[in-house]
């Protein structure tokens, strides 16, 4: 490992430690959160574990896609082009997912489930952007650079995934609000399972590498 890579890792570690300590300090001062309370700690860990499969599924798509492309000896420039298309769709999908996550706190404060409204508004806001991505993908990619124009097909497929991913994010926040933990865990596991199932069914060429 070069010094440069170690430096990046150390910076990442220090940033994490700094943010954690500062957040804990601010939380302790501004809210009535009891950090030493074991019951509260257990509940937090339980909620975190319930949320884990849904988080993993997103990580699987983003991280594993890049790792698999490297594993398949795909050209580095092609991986870069794919990454740019992926980033565009992540940015667009983040409008709906951030609304979905923010509505959890609003719902718990107002003690009512606002996720249906969040779903309605977030998908309505996202839909025109998805249309733009589907209609003129080449022009959007050429705004970043003419070398990215070859990712048209990848961007179109990724753009179609935005609406289902927005629906998933909002319905996951609904399950959080309604405290339906079993369905929640199952949906996360279903996402991971579906990815691996179609990975083995659709991508037999991958194993020839």
């Amino acid at each position: 490992m070069s010094v440069g890579a170690l430096g990046i890792l150390l910076a990442y570690l220090l940033e994490g430690l700094f943010i954690t300590l500062t957040s804990l300090h601010i939380l302790k001062k501004t809210s009535n959160i009891q950090i030493g309370n074991s019951r509260y700690f257990r509940e937090t860990i339980k909620d975190a574990l319930i949320n884990t499969p849904a988080k993993w599924s997103k990580m699987v798509i983003v991280t594993l896609s890049i790792v698999l492309l490297a594993f398949m000896n795909i050209n580095v420039s092609d991986v870069g082009i794919f990454y740019v298309a992926l980033m565009i769709t992540i940015v667009v999908a983040s409008i709906a997912s951030s609304m979905a996550y923010m509505v959890i706190t609003s719902s718990s404060m107002l003690k009512t489930d606002l996720s249906s409204n969040s779903l309605r508004i977030s998908v309505s806001v996202t839909a025109p952007i998805v249309v733009a991505l589907l209609v003129v993908p080449r022009s959007i990619l050429s705004l970043i650079g003419p070398e990215y124009e070859s990712a048209v097909a990848v961007l179109v497929i990724l753009a179609i995934t935005i609406i289902p991913s927005a629906i998933t994010a909002n319905l996951i926040s609904k399950l959080n609000n309604l405290d339906k933990s079993r369905l929640f865990v199952f949906s996360g596991l279903l996402q991971i399972g579906t990815f691996f199932y179609f990975f083995f069914c659709l991508g037999p060429n991958i194993w020839n590498y």
């Binding site: 599924s57 798509i61 896609s65 698999l68 492309l69 398949m72 795909i74 092609d78 794919f82 249906s116 779903l119 309605r120 508004i121 998908v123 309505s124 806001v125 839909a127 025109p128 998805v130 249309v131 733009a132 589907l134 209609v135 003129v136 022009s139 097909a153 990848v154 497929i157 990724l158 179609i160 995934t161 609406i163 289902p164 991913s165 629906i167 998933t168 909002n170 319905l171 996951i172 609904k174 399950l175 309604l178 339906k180 369905l183 949906s187 279903l190 996402q191 579906t194 990815f195 179609f198 990975f199 659709l202 991508g203 060429n205 991958i206």
Partner: protein, 96 residues
Amino acid sequence: MELLELQSQSLLQYLSSSIFLITSSGRGSFRHILSVCLSVFVGFIVGYMISMTLGNEQQYLIIIISIATSILVILASKNMTIKEMRFLLKATRQKN
């Protein structure tokens, strides 16, 4: 080709999970989801037809018309009102 296969998997993964969640969490939001899918479809078809008629040189016109069509379908299906749209724009402007 491998890039497309990988992305098809992501698409199928999200489709299956969203269909499962829609069916398991009640049909309350089903109408909204249907009208959004319709707005995307109509916007895409209109944009495609204009690009077939005018050619690919009129990119800005194609984007504007297809986005406007999609917004019109959303408003017509009462998925979102003009008041809500104005409120969102106002809030975004205030944040900036």
